[in-house]
Symmetry: C2
Subunit: 174 residues, 2 copies
């Protein structure tokens, strides 16, 4: 359930998604679907005050989605560029095959009940390890002007699109 992670795991994500290839690539492209985070007992007190926030950053550890390679390629074809076959440096992508497979998901917090968070916006496979939660703060997390967003500014992003949608060769992958 929780593959070896060099960080302290504070909780686990529960969603209806069972394989990375069939999990939407970004929470913002799949805002309606709901999931939960179960925070482990030892960290439950740390949730106090989180109920006042509408959005939360989930920092996750994604070895399942990152493949089996020790070190990923520095130049990759991101899922959203598979149709065009364009390459990009790994740090100009949001893909899971990173040097450190840390995920950053912005989710809509619907309810805090005990040590369970119910959220909307699913881009994580069931069983993903959570290593930190941070409240979304507009003043800290939004550029003061409309920023250039590189290749994302000119790419099509379909609602709830998955890696397997963008690259049919991934269909059978776990």
């Amino acid at each position: 359930m929780l593959p070896g992670c060099p960080l302290e795991v504070i909780g686990v994500v529960h969603t209806a998604r069972t394989t990375p290839a069939t999990t939407p690539v970004q929470a913002a492209l799949n805002r309606a679907e709901q999931g939960t985070v179960e925070i482990f007992e030892a960290f439950a007190q740390g949730l106090s005050g989180l109920e006042g926030f509408d959005y939360v950053w989930l920092l996750t550890w994604m070895p399942l989605a990152s493949g089996s390679q020790e070190m990923p390629a520095m130049i990759q074809v991101p899922f959203l560029l598979r149709p065009q076959g364009r390459t990009m440096g790994v740090f100009a992508t949001r893909g899971p095959q990173r040097v450190n497979p840390l995920g950053l998901s912005l989710v809509n917090l619907l309810e805090v009940s005990g040590r369970t968070l119910r959220f909307a916006g699913v881009d994580l496979v069931d069983g993903t390890a959570v290593v930190d939660l941070k409240p979304f703060v507009t003043r800290f997390d939004s550029p003061p002007e409309v920023p250039r967003c590189g290749w994302f500014d000119s790419v099509e992003m379909a609602e709830a699109v998955t890696p397997a949608d963008l690259d049919p060769g991934l269909e059978g992958e776990p």
Copy 2:
């Protein structure tokens, strides 16, 4: 320079700030000050395409700022609430004393020159280890409506405020 980190360190931050107590608490509150990130040679190719983005998330490892305790308190008084002495669960704060001392800084990328990134928006002490870079993508990283931001909605945030400004007792701390 780079204290023990369980993750692969991809680079290092250079700023004019030498102690956590005198480093502004958030990049967004100190947008004018500049710094650089030096990405290590092994990861330099991964920067390709990043020059098209105006903003970048720096994911950092902040043991210097997180104190010496093995496990931080789950209930804390965040820097910005020190004047009032109000407590908050650690996951409802953006402070550095976290279970995993992972920092998330949104910086304005000014220039990519070889494997050096010049940025504006300093909330990191000189020598901080960088463990990931992700491009800021408005579509992914912005809530679709104006969100509630908990206690941050009612707290005063002065430009370039530091922990030592908010809690004079920290003045002498490293």
